[in-house]
Symmetry: C2
Subunit: 245 residues, 2 copies
């Protein structure tokens, strides 16, 4: 990352709580680079977690005259290699948690015994009726078992039930995403509105899992198109704060 | 495995419940191999899990005139690459669950972003005061967060608190083992006696986690010496059942 200790310039992380108007983020004007003004923006940290870039997307969700979600107490879900859940209240990022969902999917599918079950099916395939059912079975399995036990059911589904590779991949995805989302039903989160900000195919996967967990009524989904503009919307918030626009 | 579909001879799995006297296991006399009698023994399956070899170790726990544990309702923990928890009652293996604890430790330590945090420390090191504390912190973190979020704290502990590599490895181990064992405090298991059958250094790690989870009073630990003889004790049960000894 450009602002990390091994990047262009080491900027300290801003701290939670971080205001949605960007005023508590940390930035540095690098001067013109190749004729263009350049601004380096820090990430945000809590006592025990870090993010770089996702905080700008969260600013983007609530930015402008037509925000993508109403401000108020909300949890924002930003799927990816290291998925972030970000709790927002009082127009501040209050706290966040990182889930290694995407990386676990890749690493287990390539380097663990599960590769013999999921191998051969391409990533990012569109859902079919069969893979949707397998994905939902994965979500259900994650709700019933600790994650390290649920994961082994990828293997036994193939060995005992001859589950095909594309369904095994969907099942693995369902286990990991289901395990990630289950805490949204816990007492401390069970009334919070949820904003899902993901482009397809992750949007469909997360929507399916949220539905299987009975959470659909609380979910507002940022469109794939708006999702691609989230960082730019957030950057505009920051540029306005700095006075560059 | 010798009895698998790609082994010497494809034997079907025996089914749970499986009797501790070995009478419901499935075996095949292969005739003499290199002048020695050879017996092939199947594994055991449930509706959605499989084991090969661990069932013989479980027979070994309860075998002979001096069993290592009293029979009665018990859960046996057999740590390893694919750790098994085996529920025994009425002198039968009633059910079991596989946890990918050991494989997750190896795969994440070698192939995920966590390798930058845990790299450089050798596996299987004896515990020190510092690594014991880090291990316990991992167990506590697993109790507070979903596993895929607890795992990321390996990374942030290094980035934010400069946790050294050997302590990061211990923390990762604590997260994975703590996550595996937490269900033993769930209502359906919270009175069951626990038998831990592991040689060092896993024995120490699991004992430390069980203690951190408040489970010590229910745990009987098979000695490292007896642990190495478990399979032989179980095989003797089976040979007696068959009439070879």
């Amino acid at each position: 990352m450009a602002s990390s200790s091994i990047g262009w310039h080491d900027l300290p992380y801003a701290r939670t709580p971080a205001r949605l108007d960007g005023s508590t983020l940390i930035w540095r004007d690098l001067g013109p680079i190749a004729g263009h003004p350049a601004l380096l923006v820090s990430g945000v940290r809590s006592d025990n977690d870090v993010m770089r870039g996702e905080e700008t997307q969260v600013l983007g969700v609530f930015a402008g005259d037509e925000p993508l979600a109403q401000s108020g107490e909300t949890v924002i879900i930003l799927p990816g290699t290291h998925c972030k859940h970000v709790w927002v209240a009082d127009r501040q990022i209050q706290r966040f948690e990182t889930f290694m969902t995407g990386e676990l999917f890749a690493v287990l599918g390539e380097h663990s015994i599960l590769r013999y079950s999921v191998g051969g099916a391409a990533a990012g395939q569109a859902f079919t009726a069969q893979t949707t059912e397998a994905f939902r079975a994965g979500v259900d399995t994650a709700a019933a078992l600790p994650l390290s036990a649920a994961l082994f059911k990828v293997r036994t589904g193939q060995v005992l039930q001859n589950r095909p590779a594309d369904e095994s991949r969907a099942f693995l995805s369902g286990v990991l995403i289901g395990s990630e989302l289950a805490h949204l039903n816990a007492p401390q989160n069970d009334r919070l509105p949820i904003v899902l900000a993901a482009a397809d195919p992750l949007q469909t996967a997360y929507q399916t899992a949220l539905e299987a967990l009975g959470l659909s009524a609380r979910v507002k989904c940022v469109s794939s198109q708006a999702q691609h503009l989230l960082s730019a919307r957030g950057q505009a918030v920051l540029l306005r704060q700095i006075g560059w626009i």
